[in-house]
Amino acid sequence: MNKLDAKIPEGPLAEKWNQYKAAMKLVSPNNKKKLDIIVVGTGISGAPAAATLAELGYNVKSFCYQDTPRRAHSVAAQGGINAAKNYKNDGDSVYRLFYDMIKGGDYRAREANVYRAAEVSNAIIDQLTAQGVPFAREYGGTLANRTFGGVQVSRTFYAQGQTGQQVLLGGYSALKRQVAKGKVKMFSRRQMLDIVVVDGKARGIITRNLVTGEIERHVAHAVVLATGGYGTIYYLSTLAVNSNGSAAWQAYKKGAFFGNPSFVQIHPTCIPVLNEYQSKLTLMSESLRNDGRIWVPKAKGDKRNPNDIPDEERDYYLERRYPAFGNLVPRDVAARAAKERCDSGYGVGKTGLAVYLDFRDAVQKQGKKVIKGKYGNLFELYEKITGESPYETPMMIYPAGHYTMGGLWVDYNLMTTIPGLFAIGEANFSDHGANRLGASSLMQGAGDGYFILPNTISNYLADEIRTKLPSTDAQEFVDAENAAVERLNKFLNINGKQTVKSFHKRLGNIMWDYCGMKRNEEGLKKALKMIDDLQKEFWRDVKIPGKLDEINQELEKASRVADFFELAKLMVNDALNRKESCGAHFREESQTEGGEAQRIDDQYSYVAAWEYQGDDKPPKLHKEMLKFENVEVKVRSYK
């Protein structure tokens, strides 16, 4: 029997959420005080979730691995956050935002969830503005908007190139307010090591205190994972270097299904790899494509200074291939087009793995001052890293791993297949299908945290009021802790010769080459074998210095990388299973004559949800069939 039930409410699309809220079970204020909730993660989904649940009256325990919740990876988001406000009067609406996301995701997301995400988007902007988030404004004092890739309306709210920081700090301030009130207990510098399931329900977590090394048990009526994405599996990516997939992976191994693990967004505009020491790739916000024009020389191997190459000898390949959207095609399309040009020998820069993003025309037309107003801090960021000024010479950019559409499978309640375990933000698989549109992740995460989860969790907790919580001495807690400690000790006892970083780098290369922007059966099969071999080598030869009961950063890294090996195999298996191309998942076997992604709707119009069967057994595939009742499924075209 298929265990997957997405629990989508009945009724017309636009009514589902309201009807759900009208019918859902509530927890009275008096009972909320008796219920404890664990929220792991303090990014744009987790911080608002913890704060909002506390505002409602629940007792919340909030966890993050950084020294303070304000440093969650969301802080690095640059370009903006979407909402269907239609402040520009340019024809935007909740439906259009929903439609853009469904289409942008190449028809691989669930209609009802996406519609709801669009529906709550406006309230997010209201909430953030009221918190004092300093969004960009027009001279008249109203909020400003800009356009992002893949859409034709202006619906993105922003705070220079630091939108994530500002939006996150709004959530962080709400969280701090509840900490002051004693409704949230904050546990910073904690690494979650495992989920504890008692009688089939998520009842707690095991953590390691990253300062003392102490292993701790935490119990609650429900557990929420807001632990972000796993793009760091590529080693080099745009994510904060400690971002990881471990919390989601532990949940998977405890029975939560993993949805579409191979759906990873490769972002088209990042500073290219400069040298072999590089530890991360810096994103150059997509908003730059509003004014920057992307090109490569028409002649192969043209080594001239880009400013000396006249227009007739430049190939503005996005404008050429996609006249309707030009430089503003969605990310997957832009990334593949860049790879295609470079693979064909037209790439620029030292490595030939870069294309130009040129502001010459924009500066000429709008003046340096206006361009500086829009992108000043991004240009500075670029100059700090490369030593070159984008006002003078075109930027060089190349795609890099950025966002994981895949994640824990959740139903309409944002609950995983483990009752009582919820997943929000980038950690779940839900709203972006096979490709995410710009500025819609902050929107989805904040929507989950402020407005969706606080409702749906009450529907679950209403039946838990009378449940007596297990003690942390329960066998399940003891077992989970013992297993976690055993694993950490195992790392410390291998005493091999190679560093964790060297393994991570090698794994990243395999994933980038075979399970990155383009995939094919032969390569994926090869990758499986290579990952397996590398994983064995890791467990034989990794070297972790230090002890358990102290700050030990190598030990932290080791457990992340060990999980990445396992997750990598699931990603590859998922990519192998899906023989179609869709969105960011490009199977070379399935493309049109023009080299565009070719979906195979009659076979793959489903979410692949994988169930763990044991370390030595292949995972089991469950299919959630996608029904499109409100949009017509079309070939995604940006021409």
Partner: protein, 249 residues
């Protein structure tokens, strides 16, 4: 390049620390400062030694995790960047670089170059927010904010909470950090209702946690990676004074 390093090593918060010297060969000018430390750590691990503990995450100057005292200045001297944005091209072959953790009573050392900045969280809890529950907010465009004020509020809000201002200050004052938050919210209509209480409570918390007082040396502004201006301190002082003279809290 070949670089000589003097690095502060301290096993834990109770242990006594000391400088240890290292030499690192093959440093590429294109490396970032943290990548140079990565290289040092790879070397130490292979030599069976304990790697240097230092904090970092985003590696692009926005999370505020990294913060090293480099040759006597937080994040390196007066360059308006965070440690992770510093590149080895600013050093020369044969240079000696001294690396220490933040030194301040408010930020105890936990290990090597890692300090405890929990005090900043406590100051924020004392009032660094607008009291608004989810769902209560009016339509965003019903609150109009003149662009200049919004821009100034943004400039103040750009603080990454790294603590360099404290590390740079001879009094270990956290004034710039507190002023940035108080200013951001005082400049916006949304923050006005609680402005007085916020200024009083955040300053009181800062004092309670053992940060020193501000004597306007300007060292904080000079070392702040986000260019937070000491004008904000002037604004905080005004807010604080007007609050102290009006209602007693």
């Amino acid at each position: 390049m070949k670089i000589k390093l003097r690095v502060w090593r301290q096993e834990n918060s109770k242990a006594k620390g000391k400088f240890v010297k290292y030499e690192l060969d093959g440093v590429d000018p294109e490396m970032s400062f943290l990548e140079m430390l990565d290289a040092l750590n790879e070397k130490l691990i292979k030599e069976d030694k304990d790697p240097v503990a230092f904090e970092n995450d985003c590696r692009e100057g926005i999370c505020g995790s990294c913060g090293l005292y480099i040759n006597g200045y937080p994040h390196g001297k007066g360059n308006k960047i965070a440690t992770c944005q510093l590149h080895m091209r600013v050093f020369k072959d044969g240079d000696t670089i001294t690396i220490e953790p933040w030194r301040s009573q408010g930020f105890p050392v936990l290990k090597d170059l890692i300090v405890d900045r929990n005090a900043f969280d406590k100051i924020m809890s004392a009032g660094g927010f607008v009291s608004i529950d989810a769902g209560q907010a009016p339509d965003a465009n019903s609150i109009w904010v003149p662009k200049e004020n919004a821009d100034k509020a943004f400039d103040a809000a750009a603080c990454i909470g790294c603590g360099a201002c404290v590390a740079a200050c001879k009094n270990s004052s956290a004034m710039l950090f507190v002023a940035a938050k108080v200013s951001q919210l005082a400049l916006l209509p949304q923050g006005k209702a609680e402005a007085k209480r916020r200024a009083l409570n955040m300053v009181a918390k800062m004092d309670e946690l053992g940060f020193g007082s501000c004597t306007n040396t300007g060292a904080c502004e000079a070392e702040c990676p986000k260019g937070i201006s000491i004008e904000n301190i002037a604004r905080l002082n005004r807010e604080y004074l007007s609050a102290s003279f009006s209602e007693p809290e």
